[in-house]
């Protein structure tokens, strides 16, 4: 099958663009989840303050009550019946009114305590929910994904697969696999692999310029085979290890070295800030917290003023308020001390996923695609396939084995989401500026353009197909299918969610 170079180039650029967008999305996602956890912390803090104020108010109230009671007693003793005279100005003083009737507290006080009991912060604010949410976020961020060493040793760095960035990666790679299937029907190796490591250079990531400054000057060959753990980096990650304790520093360096990283070290926070301020670029910073001259949290705070390199706190102080403080000052993660090789590697893989070679334990990033699948796709692609049955095959999740290996649950969710929101599905290639892929509000235009599109397709034949044509175009030619695709979004959806809300 001949593929015109022009078309290949076009597809290639589209893929690179898509990949960049995915990278940006992922960065954005990470950023947002950090913001989210920070906001959560803030809200929880605020709630605590409110509850404290509430208690203060209650204390004030009880004090006022006692003062009030005291005064009532006094006034009864000194002047038992003066109140009758005051009614004449038509304005009964509330506390005196209270004193007449059965010695109850003054009514402003009553009012206040009623208000207080109605708006009892202890009852109204339920910090549990937020704390639960917070915990989930923490776990997603991997704060708690690094189990204590005792727990970790039993298993073979398991949990990071389920951590948030990876799952985000796998869902995005779903699109990648999707595209791959659709665009390269001739087979995975024939054509441009979107995950081919060379493309990484097209991704706008900071590329460290600093030469490796590793203390160990041995060649890779000299490394002992049994301790070799090659995570499969595209290039050696540049790590800055900030640690005042020589023992921890040496062991940390040794582990990092075994993981094929280039290591630079700083003895305290001040040195780290100076190094980074002087322009040294790193892929990751491992930061001790308690250090002389400048502690890790302050150093991180300073570094965040000019740099966004991931910073991981290495510390034995991992109480939840400590951890939230680390996050508040811009730390990205926490590696509990004493760290293990596995824990360290997990951190590296989590935060340096963009430096990994695609083929190396990257089940999340790149679904292995059996050739048979692409063949199947090829058949469907080659035949004009306008009959409804084949078309329905195209979108049915069960008929798309090519995307499933990345994790069946994710696939199902994704495909269900696709089916539930056909508009969104049609929108996907919008990033390439195709006019007929507008948002749901543009459905009317969408239809017209789509008719034009049909004509174009008839003119072009199968020759100059584009991704979106292949993913959605055939279906759109089928009236029945189109019905199914567009009835949903045509309903006034933006209003519905508002009405459906209980309050």
């Amino acid at each position: 099958m001949m593929i015109p170079t022009q078309q290949m180039d076009l597809v290639n650029t589209q893929l690179i663009a898509t990949q960049q967008q995915l990278q940006q999305l992922q960065e954005r996602y990470n950023e947002l989840s950090i913001h989210h956890s920070m906001l959560l912390q803030e809200v929880i803090g605020l709630q605590k303050t409110v509850v404290n104020h509430e208690h203060v108010m209650q204390n004030v109230m009880s004090f006022l009550h006692s003062v009030d009671a005291q005064r009532r007693r006094d006034s009864r003793i000194v002047n038992p019946f003066p109140q009758g005279g005051q009614v004449q100005n038509g304005n009964i003083e509330p506390n005196q009114q209270g004193a007449i009737e059965d010695d109850v507290p003054a009514s402003p006080l009553q009012h206040a305590s009623k208000l207080l009991s109605e708006t009892n912060a202890d009852v109204m604010l339920n910090p549990r929910n937020l704390e639960h949410m917070n915990e989930i976020t923490m776990r997603m961020n991997g704060t708690l994904t690094t189990p204590p060493p005792e727990f970790l040793r039993g298993q073979n760095r398991p949990s990071s697969r389920n951590a948030a960035p990876q799952s985000a990666g796998s869902s995005s790679s779903m699109r990648m696999g999707d595209l791959d299937n659709l665009v390269y029907p001739v087979g995975q190796t024939n054509g441009i692999d979107p995950m081919y490591s060379e493309h990484i250079h097209n991704i706008p990531y900071p590329m460290p310029t600093k030469p490796p400054e590793t203390g160990d000057a041995r060649f890779p060959d000299a490394r002992k085979k049994s301790t070799q753990v090659d995570p499969g980096w595209v290039r050696p990650p540049q790590i800055l290890l900030v640690e005042d304790d020589p023992t921890c520093r040496r062991i940390g360096s040794k582990f990092l070295y075994a993981f094929h990283c280039s290591i630079d070290s700083a003895l305290d926070g001040l040195e780290a800030v100076n190094k980074m301020n002087a322009g040294s670029k790193y892929d990751l910073v491992l930061m001790d917290i308690i250090m002389p001259n400048l502690d890790g949290v302050s150093a991180c705070h300073l570094i965040r003023q000019f740099d966004s390199t991931p910073i991981i706190a290495m510390t034995s102080n991992i109480r939840s308020d400590d951890i939230s403080m680390y996050f508040q000052h811009g730390m990205n993660d926490v590696l509990p001390k004493p760290f293990t090789k596995e824990g360290l590697l997990q951190m590296l893989e989590k935060h340096l996923a963009h430096l990994k070679k695609p083929a190396n334990h990257m089940d999340g990033m790149m679904p292995p695609q059996p050739l048979a699948t692409t063949r199947q796709a090829l058949k469907e692609e080659e035949s004009p396939a306008k009959s409804p049955s084949t078309n329905s095959n195209w979108n049915s999740p069960n008929q798309m084995p090519g995307v499933s290996p990345a994790g069946s649950t994710v696939t199902d969710e994704y495909m269900q989401a696709v089916q539930a929101n056909p508009g969104v599905y049609g929108m996907n290639p919008m990033q390439h500026g195709m006019p007929y892929n507008g948002p749901a509000q543009m459905q009317m235009q969408h239809r017209q353009q789509q008719q034009q599109q049909q004509q174009q397709q008839q003119q072009q034949g199968g020759h100059r197909r584009q991704i979106s044509d292949i993913s959605g175009g055939d279906d759109m030619n089928n009236p029945a299918k189109r019905q199914q695709m567009y009835t949903g979004p045509l309903q006034p959806q933006p209003m519905n969610p508002m009405h459906q809300r209980p309050r």
């Binding site: 060493p149 005792e150 040793r153 000299a222 002992k224 049994s226 301790t227 005042d244 304790d245 020589p246 023992t247 921890c248 040496r250 062991i251 040794k254 582990f255 075994a258 001790d288 308690i290 034995s316 001390k337 004493p338 760290f339 293990t340 090789k341």
Partner: protein, 138 residues
């Protein structure tokens, strides 16, 4: 257990992952140098602790406790680590678990004196075991 007599004093898994980094199982150049560096680090830290005990400087004692806690934990020297953690807490005017305040400086100093002595003893015990392991019994 690779190290004879190290039960309870050394966390096997932690120490073994350092031993794994040795290129040669006979020479054990890497782990040996780390362990011996730790010995001198601990000696000098205990020396400083004695000085600050004299000066009754709780803050410095706490900092030194934390410092030695980090490296002993990294090597898996469990007992020394636990004592260092207590030193850290007492120095912060806390009880030994770090959960309750102990505002009485004199009490804290008294406990610090005991705990530092205990940490020293635990350190010398584990030092002996490790030196034996590295065939250096002199």
């Amino acid at each position: 257990m690779k190290i004879p007599g190290a039960k309870d004093t050394i966390d096997e898994a932690t120490f073994e992952q350092i031993l794994e980094m040795d290129d040669d199982e006979e020479e054990r150049e890497f782990s040996k140098s780390i362990v011996y560096d730790f010995f001198s680090q601990a000696e000098s830290t205990f020396g400083k602790m004695d000085g600050y005990l004299e000066k009754k400087d709780l803050g410095q004692l706490s900092a030194l406790g934390h410092f030695l806690k980090g490296s002993s934990a990294t090597l898996g020297l469990t007992k020394v680590k636990d004592s260092c953690e207590k030193i850290q807490h007492f120095g912060q005017n806390k009880d030994e678990t770090g959960t309750h305040d102990e505002p009485d400086d004199e009490k804290c100093l008294e406990k610090l004196k005991d705990t530092i002595a205990q940490a020293k003893q635990e350190f010398y015990d584990v030092e002996k075991i490790l030196k034996k392991f590295y065939h250096d019994e002199a």
